[in-house]
């Protein structure tokens, strides 16, 4: 390993460590981050589907009985936590409030800092997701799949999280032009939530809509990864290439936008 590469790895490693310390700096916040989504999930989704199936526990909705539906939503919760947990709030705020000035001076690039921070965030999310998974499995809500299926599902979910990060980064760097990007991000999150199968399984959507959606990245963000974990994996290769394509598109756009945006940057507020 060359000395320069070794030094660069050290820079990434220390950034990941410091970001980790930052993410866990506030104990109560971290605790709520751990249990909050799980509580919301069980109070809202579990109760909703319990009510729907309460009349007839053996009812089948588009191939899903009650247990399968809860299984689906538990996996949606886990996948969402790992693949779509990251937001770009810090990134766009850094640009808007002129805070990126520090990163422009340090000999470690802005994208490197944010990517390392994301990796650190992902480590925490994976930890929380694993903990949640063990808890729900212990409670008998979910049956853990085989090691092979699990490995495949985790690898696919992590790959999607990379795509999600490049897309979030894209909405973040738009702050060079848009003074507020939160509406854009909220819209994107809501659209993703609906079209990815996070609210209800795509099996409940009309077939023609699903056929169209299959050409977009959305179903591969939640629906198909869940199917992998449930042992019904399909569209894996197609999903991989579609997500890869969009990851490359967003990475390219991010590079171009940064190059152009930084020339417009005024470091307001400094």
């Amino acid at each position: 390993m060359t000395e320069a590469l070794e030094r660069n790895i050290q820079k990434w490693w220390i950034t990941i460590k410091v970001s980790w310390v930052k993410h866990t700096a506030y104990r109560m916040n971290f605790f709520l981050q751990m249990i909050g989504p799980a509580l919301v999930f069980f109070f809202v989704k579990y109760n909703l589907w319990s009510s729907i199936y309460s009349a007839d526990k053996s009812m089948i909705i588009k191939g899903f009985n009650f247990e399968q539906m809860i299984n689906y939503h538990t996996w949606a919760f886990i996948v969402g936590m790992v693949a779509q947990g990251h937001g770009s709030w810090n990134l766009s705020d850094d640009i808007r409030m002129g805070r990126i000035s520090s990163y422009l001076i340090y000999p470690f690039n802005f994208w490197e800092f944010h990517t390392a921070s994301w990796l650190s965030f992902q480590c925490i999310q994976i930890g929380i997701a694993s903990f949640t998974l063990v808890c729900v499995a212990a409670a008998g809500v979910l049956q853990l799949p085989s090691l092979e299926v699990m490995t495949m599902g985790v690898a696919y979910t992590l790959f999607i999280s990379l795509f999600w990060f490049t897309m979030q980064y894209f909405t973040g760097v738009l702050a060079f032009w848009l003074e507020e990007t939160w509406i854009l991000r909220v819209m994107l999150n809501i659209i993703t939530y609906f079209l990815s199968g996070a609210i209800i399984p795509l099996d409940l959507y009309p077939k023609w809509i699903v056929d169209i959606l299959n050409y977009t990245p959305f179903p591969y963000l939640t629906y198909y990864p869940i199917k992998i974990f449930m042992g019904q994996g399909s569209h894996i290769t197609q999903g991989f290439f579609i997500i890869l394509f969009w990851t490359i598109v967003f990475a390219f756009l991010n590079h171009r936008i940064w190059k152009k945006g930084i020339r417009l940057y005024t470091a307001a507020g400094m």
Partner: protein, 336 residues
């Protein structure tokens, strides 16, 4: 003569913003039609800085000081002109260039708020590729000099402004930069903390002979640290020279103050020619007297009035600055 460390030639920077009328109608109209306004923040600015120089960059708010600092450090891109720092275009943001400069912003923290300063220092150690031995030695020395050794492991958000500023200074000097940009480093600090920071910078400069550019509203900073002053008004360079020359810019006048044993309620015609400034209780007056008149005027006043105290001094730099800010045309003869 060595090549300058900083070379600025005909530098210009303009910003475009959009005018918006007040109220809901204003918002609605600006939604469809925006009126751009171009602000010339820096105009045709030129100067050179040699190794080891400390330069004070002074000017009123909005004059363009911080814009210049942003261009020097590569944070923003100049609109036109030539700018070389250590032989490099700062806005190309070459990593090797970034390792040789430092910026301290008094009004903006560069440390991470949610973690102790030491964690930030460790991060910067890796970023700037400082060896462990150098790092430990510098941290030890600087924290001792600044009196913050016990605060290194406290969260930055829990430090006072003065303590935080000392940490900011430490963070920016860990990598032994060749050029340091200090943007109002003592702003908001009490007198003791201001003095500490100045002494520290002076000491650091003496040992390292780096080039320093400092902007400040406190004239004590400039007097304590700078060899050379550059004045900026409305984006243009107004003055570039030594501190001594600057103090004489309004002529060879001295400030003479007389204190009387009781309030002086009469109108002293003799003083009117010397721009008298009376204290509120009329027991003290300050005059601006040219060197030629100093002796005769002082003896006349001491002889004829109940003077208890008498002091004379050079024109304070604050006074010169204030006078120039109110009347920038006085600088026209000095324009370089």
């Amino acid at each position: 003569m060595q090549a300058p460390i900083i070379s600025v030639k005909n530098l210009n920077k303009h910003f475009i913003s959009y005018k918006k009328s007040p109220g809901v109608m204003g918002s609605f109209t600006s939604f469809f039609k925006r009126n751009p306004i171009t602000k010339e923040a820096v105009k045709d600015f030129s100067f050179d800085v040699q190794k080891g120089e400390i330069i004070g960059l002074l000017g009123p708010n909005g004059a363009g000081k911080t814009t210049l600092m942003k261009m020097f450090t590569g944070i923003i891109v100049p609109s036109s002109g030539e700018l070389k720092i250590l032989g490099t275009n700062p806005w190309e943001r070459d990593k090797n260039f970034r390792k040789k400069i430092a910026l301290v912003m008094g009004q903006k923290s560069q440390l991470w708020w949610d973690i102790p300063a030491m964690d930030s220092f460790l991060l910067l150690q890796k970023y700037y590729e400082v060896s462990d031995s150098d790092f430990n030695e510098r941290i030890e020395k600087m924290s001792k000099l600044l009196g913050v050794k016990d605060l290194l492991h406290i969260h930055v958000r829990k430090l006072s402004l003065g303590e935080r500023m000392k940490m900011e200074l430490m963070a920016s000097l860990l990598h032994n930069p060749e050029v340091i940009f200090l943007d109002e480093p003592t702003i908001g600090l009490d007198l003791v903390a201001q003095d500490n920071i100045r002494e520290f910078i002076k000491d650091y400069h003496r040992k390292n002979q780096c080039a320093i550019i400092i902007t400040s509203h406190y004239m004590q900073d400039v007097q304590a640290l700078c060899d050379r002053l550059i004045l900026i008004f409305d984006g243009k360079k107004g003055y570039d020279g030594t501190l001594d020359d600057f103090e004489n810019i309004l002529g060879n006048e001295k400030v003479v103050s007389f204190t009387f044993n009781e309030p002086q309620l009469n109108d002293y015609q003799i003083l009117n020619a010397y721009k008298p400034q009376w204290s509120e209780d009329k027991t003290q007056v300050e005059l601006r007297v040219c060197e030629e008149d100093l002796r005769s005027l002082s003896s006349t006043i001491i002889k004829n009035y109940p003077v208890t105290e008498f002091a004379t001094d050079k024109m304070p730099i604050e006074r010169v600055m204030k006078e120039l800010m109110n009347n920038p045309e006085l600088l026209k003869s000095q324009l370089v």
